[in-house]
Amino acid sequence: MNYGQRGRELLLDLKRSDWLPPYNEDCVRAVLQEINSHTEELTVLVRASNRIAGGGPTSSSSSAPPPGPAIEDRPSLILHDVSIRRNKRCLLAYHAHRIDKLRSLRWETGMLPPGLKFVLSESEVDYFNEYDKLASRHGLSGPMQMYDWTADQYPPEENLVQVRVVRDGLGKVETEYCGTVELEVGSTHYLPRGDVEHLIRSGALVQLSGEESF
């Protein structure tokens, strides 16, 4: 068996993909399996060395070996222990990277796009939902509770923005001081940024800029 290979494979998987690769459950399980086999061998070794230490001669007290496993067993013990730690580290890094991406996804879109669900594990979907709840709750505590924390990902430049509607069936939108506006596919509008920002972020409207808007 190629020790340590699967853990590396997991991390390379992350590196090769654009956003996130599908959750590689088989590989994760294989790494956990590897950890288990290391543990088994480790237990056997420890038992064996204990037996020797326990049954060995204890007569010459002056030159007694230091307590613990025999010197010739130590390298393999250490090697197994280090392998387990390395595999654990690979696994944690794999999961940590994935939830980092999930967190930034939450700030960008505010919800889990259905098309992305298949790349996540069950536990990750739960994590996303709970994180979403937690972050919203944090936004609602303290002195800044009246502001929308997910609005304005970038510094605001204009009060009014030129937008084109690209999604069907948005209906009407209520604006602060432009009255109610009917959002038909293909039409362009000049609307207060705050009122349509969430639609721009979810991709229902496209913000036009520069030459395009005229």
Binding site: V28, L32, I35, N36, T39, I84, R85, K88, R89, L91, L92, H95, A96, I99, D100, R103, W107, S121, S123, E124, D126, Y127, E130, Y131, L134, A135, H138, S141, G142, P143, M144, Y147, D148, W149, A151, D152, P155, P156, E158, N159, Y177, R193, G194
Partner: protein, 321 residues
């Protein structure tokens, strides 16, 4: 923010000045007349332009030269009035800008937080002040929009001041939007930092607010739950199930290089980490004191964060983006 308050004053005065507009108009007919009384809160250039427009509508017959002179007279009064204002308003800057200390503090907090690899102390007082100010501005915007609508609807001739109110509303809105963005983005940056180094930040709880502390705790629980479910629970022995062994805790990269500005004279030890190989060399240099650099206030540096960390916390060095 520059002339916004002047504009606001002007709008408020507008209602009163309507009453004696006849008198003013009279003055305008005879631009050469001396001793034009200084109105309280003389408008800034924008307001003057609006007034001029009003006159244009009401008085086509007047010659352009008189108009020009009239405009200059208004501008002169404007300047004199500004000079008087300086005594009354202590917050006014040299270049006549309104200087808002809370806003400047917020800006500094935000830029430092963005540039700094680790979490910086929170400033609850500034946040409260800014929030109060933003609330006040929102009311002001609503009020102005209301006013511009009413005036726009009722009297055609009063349109100029309606437009002015609407313009001021837009400027105020832009201003408060930007301030709000900084405030919220600052809070978001802090939140992201708390999440990224959740375990490490347990040692920095004194830099957080009550809400942030409870958020850290809750997020830590969530994180641990996720790791337990995916990895740790499948590990065979308790000894390996730990998540908080010292070498596992991900801490911010304090050796990152940052841009900073020196606020007051500082001494920076630029020696950094030394390997065993050039230790002798370092000792030699130490004798000459070449590792300590002195930087005067106002100089800009690119330096490893670790070496200015204490100075940043003392406020002697400002981080820039």
């Amino acid at each position: 923010m520059a002339d916004l308050d002047n504009l606001l004053d002007d709008i408020n005065n507008d209602d009163e000045s309507n009453a004696d507009e006849d008198y003013q108009d009279q003055q305008n007919y005879y631009p050469g007349a001396d001793g034009i009384p200084a109105r309280s809160g003389v408008p800034s250039a924008l307001a003057a332009a609006a007034a001029r427009r009003r006159q244009l509508g009401s008085n086509d017959a007047r010659d352009a030269g008189g108009e020009e002179r009239d405009y200059r007279a208004a501008a002169r009064f404007d300047r004199e009035d500004d000079d008087d204002d300086v005594d009354e308003e202590e917050d006014e800057d040299d270049d006549g800008r309104n200087y808002n200390p809370d806003y400047e503090t917020l800006k500094a907090l935000w830029t430092s937080e963005m540039a700094c690899p680790e979490l910086l102390p929170h400033d609850a007082e500034t946040v409260l002040h800014i929030v109060e100010e933003l609330t006040g501005k929102e009311e002001l915007i609503d009020d102005l929009i209301q006013r511009s609508r009413q005036q726009g609807r009722h009297q055609q001739s009063r349109e100029a001041s309606g437009e002015l109110a609407s313009l001021v509303a837009q400027i105020t809105k832009m201003d408060s939007d930007r301030t709000r963005f900084m405030l919220v983005d600052w809070a978001r940056t802090r939140m992201a930092k708390i999440e990224n180094h959740a375990l490490h930040n347990r040692s920095l709880v004194d830099r957080m607010t009550k809400e942030e502390r409870s958020y850290l705790r809750q997020y830590g629980e969530l994180l641990e739950k996720h790791y337990r479910r995916t990895v740790l629970d499948h590990l065979p022995k308790d000894a390996w199930k730990k998540l908080d062994e010292p070498e596992m805790i991900d801490s911010p990269d304090l050796e990152q290089f940052v841009f900073c500005r020196v606020v007051e004279m500082v001494q920076i030890d630029v020696r950094g980490e030394l390997g065993a190989l050039n230790e002798d060399l370092a000792d030699e240099e130490d004798e000459f004191g070449e590792n300590i650099q002195e930087h005067a206030a106002g100089s800009y540096l690119i330096v490893m964060y670790k070496q200015v960390r204490d100075l940043v916390l003392e406020g002697k060095v400002e981080l820039l983006m």
